[in-house]
């Protein structure tokens, strides 16, 4: 058995034992109740919205008009603001991958060994920008990999 097969043995343990659910439980009827909880949160949100509109309608006079105009401005600003977690790629708050190290690791784990050209290309794009210096460092570290780098990166 080579190292790679040995490495996979431990993960196979989880697969074979059917140990996919990692010890998590939920309270009884949780999924039935969560719908009610969410809907009541949404009702609150709806009433906040309509409450805000009604209050702004009750203002009278110039001063009130100004206040109402400001509120409308804030409302429109808020409405057109896009939430940071909506329609955006996953935000990676902590990930720091130094590309050269990443490539060295990949090589160490033989990840690139069986990859198709397109996958290597994807990887290079995914890990952009890989600088010339990093490629040079990589190729110096693994002389045999020079061909791979020149041809595929």
């Amino acid at each position: 058995m080579n190292n790679q097969e040995e490495d996979f043995e431990m993960m196979d343990f989880f697969e074979k034992s059917g140990n996919k659910t990692p010890g998590f439980q939920v309270p009884k009827d949780y999924f039935e109740n969560i719908e009610q909880k969410v809907m009541s949160r949404i009702e609150e949100e709806k009433s906040k919205k309509s409450g805000g509109k009604l209050r702004s309608l009750s203002f009278t006079g110039w001063g009130s008009l100004l206040v109402a105009a400001s509120l409308a401005g804030v409302f429109f600003w808020h409405y057109f603001q896009t939430d940071s977690s909506i329609e955006q790629p996953i935000q990676l708050t902590e990930e720091v991958i130094i590309d050269s190290e990443y490539l060295l690791d990949l090589d160490e784990y033989f990840v690139t060994e069986n990859m198709e050209y397109s996958e290597l290309e994807d990887l290079a794009i995914a890990q952009n920008p890989i600088t010339d210096e990093e490629i040079l460092a990589y190729s110096e570290y693994h002389e045999f990999s020079e061909y791979l780098l020149v041809e595929n990166f």
Binding site: G23, E45, S84, V111, E119
Partner: protein, 182 residues
């Protein structure tokens, strides 16, 4: 993902019946999104809070959903962002110091909705130490058994890069487990 569910949601959205679309979403995705969040944040109470926030965000933004991606990938993206942001904030507050390897184990053991064995605690500890993207990819592939194509759409990452990240994550986890079992 269920084809019928996606169809019903898409049809409701096309008719601009957002309330109906949201009911389909809530009913069809509550469990999947819960487990996705739970696998990332580990503790039930946290997952419960985040799940509610996620659904409120989905409801607030459903009218603005542009259909550039499938609904499920849009929702998973929101859920992933919320969970990862929560973890980052939690780490900043040092409520659970992820650097302290006993932190995750202690938090899990204190959660009355966790009854895993020692090996499962170790697995969660190992996963919690991964960088965000690897954690996300490992969770979706290993625990949620999602296809690379689906993960690719959610994370906006190529399948090749996902395979590499997953492999990388598995190696780190194995290394962690091996060290722990010495």
């Amino acid at each position: 993902m269920s084809e019928n569910l996606e169809k019903n949601i898409s049809a409701s959205l096309a008719e601009k019946n957002f309330d109906l679309a949201f009911r389909y979403i809530l009913e069809g995705y509550k469990e999947r999104l819960y487990w996705h969040i739970r696998n990332l944040v580990l503790i039930h109470e946290d997952a419960d809070d985040i799940l509610q926030d996620v659904f409120v965000k989905i409801w607030k933004n459903l009218e603005k959903f542009e259909g550039r991606s499938q609904v499920y990938s849009w929702m998973y993206r929101i859920a992933s962002n919320e969970a990862l942001n929560f973890l980052a904030a939690k780490k900043r507050k040092s409520e659970i110091q992820l650097e302290d390897k006993a932190g995750v184990a202690n938090a899990l053991l204190a959660d009355s909705f966790f009854d895993g064995n020692e090996m499962e605690v170790l697995l969660h500890e190992a996963v919690s130490e991964l960088p965000d993207k690897q954690k996300l990819i490992f969770t979706m592939k290993y625990f949620e058994e999602m296809k690379y194509e689906a993960i690719s759409e959610i994370t906006d990452t190529s399948v090749g890069a996902l395979k590499a990240s997953y492999h990388h994550a598995v190696k780190k986890i194995e290394q962690f487990l091996r060290q722990k079992s010495l």
